[in-house]
Amino acid sequence: MGRIPYWNINLGILIDAFAVPMIVIFVYGMYGHWKRIRQGKVRINPDLSKSAGKIGPVYIYALLTKGILGTRIYKKIYTGVAHGGLFWGMVILLLGTILVFLNVLFGLPVFRGGFNRWFMSFALDLAGIAVICGILFFLFRRLVFPPERLTEPKARTGFSPIVLLLGVVILTGFVVEGGRIACNGIDNGSFIGNYLSMMFGKTDAWLTVHRYMWWIHGLLALGFLAYIPYSPLVHLVLVPVNAALADPMPGTKMGLIDFSSFEDEESEEMPVLGAATLADFSQKRLLDYSTCLWCGRCHEVCPAAQTGKPLSPKGVIITLAESLQDGHVEDDSLIDSLTSEALFCCTTCAACMEACPALINQPKTIMKFRQNLVMERSEIPEMMGKANSSLELRGHPFFGTGAGPRDWCKDLNVPVFEEGKTEYLLWIGCSVTYEERAQQIAGSMVKILSHAGTSFGILEDFRCTGDPAKQMGNEFLFAELAQQNIEDFSDMGIKKIITMCPHCYNSFTRHYPKLGGNYQVIPHSLFLKSLLKAGRLRLNRESKTICYHDPCYLGRRNAIYDEPRDVVNSMGKLVEMARNRNESFCCGGGGGNYWAEEVGTRINQVRAKEALDTGADFIATSCPFCLLMLTDGAKKFTEDQKIFDIAELVALQLEER
């Protein structure tokens, strides 16, 4: 017999009527989220600039891939498959239910032929099994063997009840199906229903059981849907929305702060610098906090959290999520409860952002708090404070340095940039200028560029882009230094810049344009690659193995992974650490933490050990801060000098020709 909707059920159509209050409860719950998020400062993603794949504020590609397909979830294969089974199973079951309604209301012929057999029977049973498997996996993992990332610094409650409810919905659905088949005979394709019907046997009692179960199943299913906005499963709605509105540019972009209102002491419009309360954040950030899954993937990859520092990105986000949920939007004790000690541990490496399946921007939140601590409360760790003062006084953060800025070029014939004559400015940057070990990168680059016949020159005076100030939260000092540089660059007619430090590259390309400084900026790894490609450099390729460490500001922040590897490959055999490319582990120096007195295990030692464990002859990087941090970290394990910048290695191979 073909399947008859509402078979054995009196007034079954009433279930459609019950759907109405369910929808009202659901919408009311979602409205609660919307109301909380609207307490943020500006409307969500006001950037309506047109770009490919963007409609209004919505990034379509991100919505489809990261929001709906949940591509990031699958980076952890077991969780990904379980999540996929649960999510897509639910989607198929929902689709099946909608088709049943359409059949009842409009007679849509879904219970006929192959469609009935393969979709309405087989696929729906399979979907139910997938959901049950997913539920069992998640319950087992959360309740029996929870990984540290789920429990640290705090585990989420409220997940089990809704998942159990879903399980009951699915199981009652199977019982209804089994009961129906027990009474009406085999339904081809319903492999679970057929199996259960055989177990149940054919008795008249199944008519009653089926009838009750049908109502229980229907009402529980409606209850489950109505409960979603009040439960952790609200992420079904919020994650796609958050993904659609998240800026796809990798890493954190900190917007500009307008300091002009501070000129007028009496002005009532003085902005809060950074953020001290939830109300100081934008609506997009509040959406971030509401969306957080508490999955701890950020915690697991965070170099600070993993080396015993007091910071956990998950901890920060869930504290804010709870505060938002509790309505403490104006509570300015929030920043103290997070502690400045923790907030300054962030290396701004963006590993958390990269790992987050909900596309939350954790470093931006941390940086906003830092800005407030530094610019409104004058709170900064002592060493960072000294670096900051040095930047303000001397234009570079390397206080107490023994290396003179002219030391590195004493024996070299280094041209000075001349307007109209020189093509590229070779930007030296603060670490390369003032740190003895890093100075060797500049010497190597000068040799390489001269060898290749590149038209380049350096500045007569030595300076910093201001990036360390920005990373430490002193946006004001950054803006002052950047504006001065921009003015000077424009006086000198500088248009093309080669950088040796990814932090400089990041500043020039991401922050300077907003202040009016637009240049063609090329990281030295890319420039070296282009020289090799053009045949202007030829290297002596050796059988040595070289391990490459991805600097966070070149890799995760600017998606430059291949070119440095190509350069390495042209000199020796590239070997990889387990954590590489966008999953690379930070050297520990970012976010101003080059000047930090670390608590817990030293990040640079962890990373240096990973690099040394590859057994490579050399460890290459393309950031002077990474070079310094890893060189220092490696001292714990070896006396050999194994860490080099790729420019140093290239210069060595040139010399051996």
Partner: protein, 252 residues
């Protein structure tokens, strides 16, 4: 209560050894000018006292007009106004006399704080002379100050230890550097506010120069010799070796 903090603008006191250069026996003019190292500790101590006892705080300096820009940082840290005696003498007696003149003009000063020594000449004698001229008590190398009734209770840190002292009346205290007076980074609001705060520019008065002629200024070349001690096996043993080597060299 009215507190005065003396601040002096000096050439960068951290010019790397490899880059250091003298002209006319003084640091080369190309080096950035900045507030003296200990002076910032003195300002921080002054600001903390101001916040604790609701006092007023004035920054007083002797130097060139171009220093105003740099001294505004002291104001941004918490000073209410700035008084600069314009002059360029290196003579401590003349500097002290001019600072006295500026302080006398303020009339109601109760406490004068100064960095324990400037970061250019490193002599550490101006504040002592100033105290003598003002008729104030002078206590050098002060790490902590507290009001105790109508007296000041201060902790003095010297190389050999620390002592707790009390003094009544007006005083000049030279401030040493301790973790409690690490200078704050001025907040943005204060940086802007400092631009509008009053600056008194005073012409210098003549003072009696000291009877000293500077014949030669010599900066020793820095040389470093490294010796690595084995640190892996027995740290206690390594520490002992280090101690004996430092004693041998008469460094401790």
């Amino acid at each position: 209560m009215h507190i005065v903090v003396l601040a002096k603008v000096v050439p960068d006191y951290e010019v790397p050894a490899g880059d250091f250069e003298l002209t006319n026996s003084r640091a080369h003019a190309r080096y950035k000018r900045m507030m003296g190292l200990y002076d910032e500790n003195a300002i921080e101590s002054g600001v903390q006292l101001k916040e604790k006892y609701s006092s007023s705080l004035t920054i007083v300096s002797y130097g060139i007009k171009g220093d105003i820009q740099i001294l505004r940082k002291a104001v941004a840290m918490g000073g209410e106004k700035l008084s600069l005696v314009v002059g360029n003498s290196d003579d401590p007696h003349i500097i002290a006399a001019n600072l006295k003149m500026a302080i006398d003009k303020l009339e109601d000063v109760d406490l004068v704080l100064a960095g324990q020594q400037s970061a250019d000449m490193d002599r550490g004698i101006v504040h002592g002379m100033l105290a003598e001229m003002l008729g104030f008590t002078f206590i050098p190398q002060v790490a902590k100050i507290e009001q105790d009734g109508d007296q000041w209770k201060v902790i003095q840190n010297t190389e050999s230890g620390s002592s707790e002292l009390k003094c009544g009346g007006k005083a000049v205290l030279s401030i040493t550097s301790v973790p409690e007076n690490v200078p704050r980074i001025p907040v943005v609001r204060s940086i802007f506010a400092a631009k509008k705060k009053p600056v008194d520019t005073l012409s210098e008065i003549e003072g009696d120069a000291m009877l000293i002629d500077e014949v030669l200024v010599n900066i020793p070349k820095m040389e470093s010799v490294c010796e690595f001690l084995p640190a892996e096996d027995d740290m206690a043993e390594t520490a002992k070796i280090l101690l004996s080597k430092l004693r041998e060299e008469r460094l401790i």
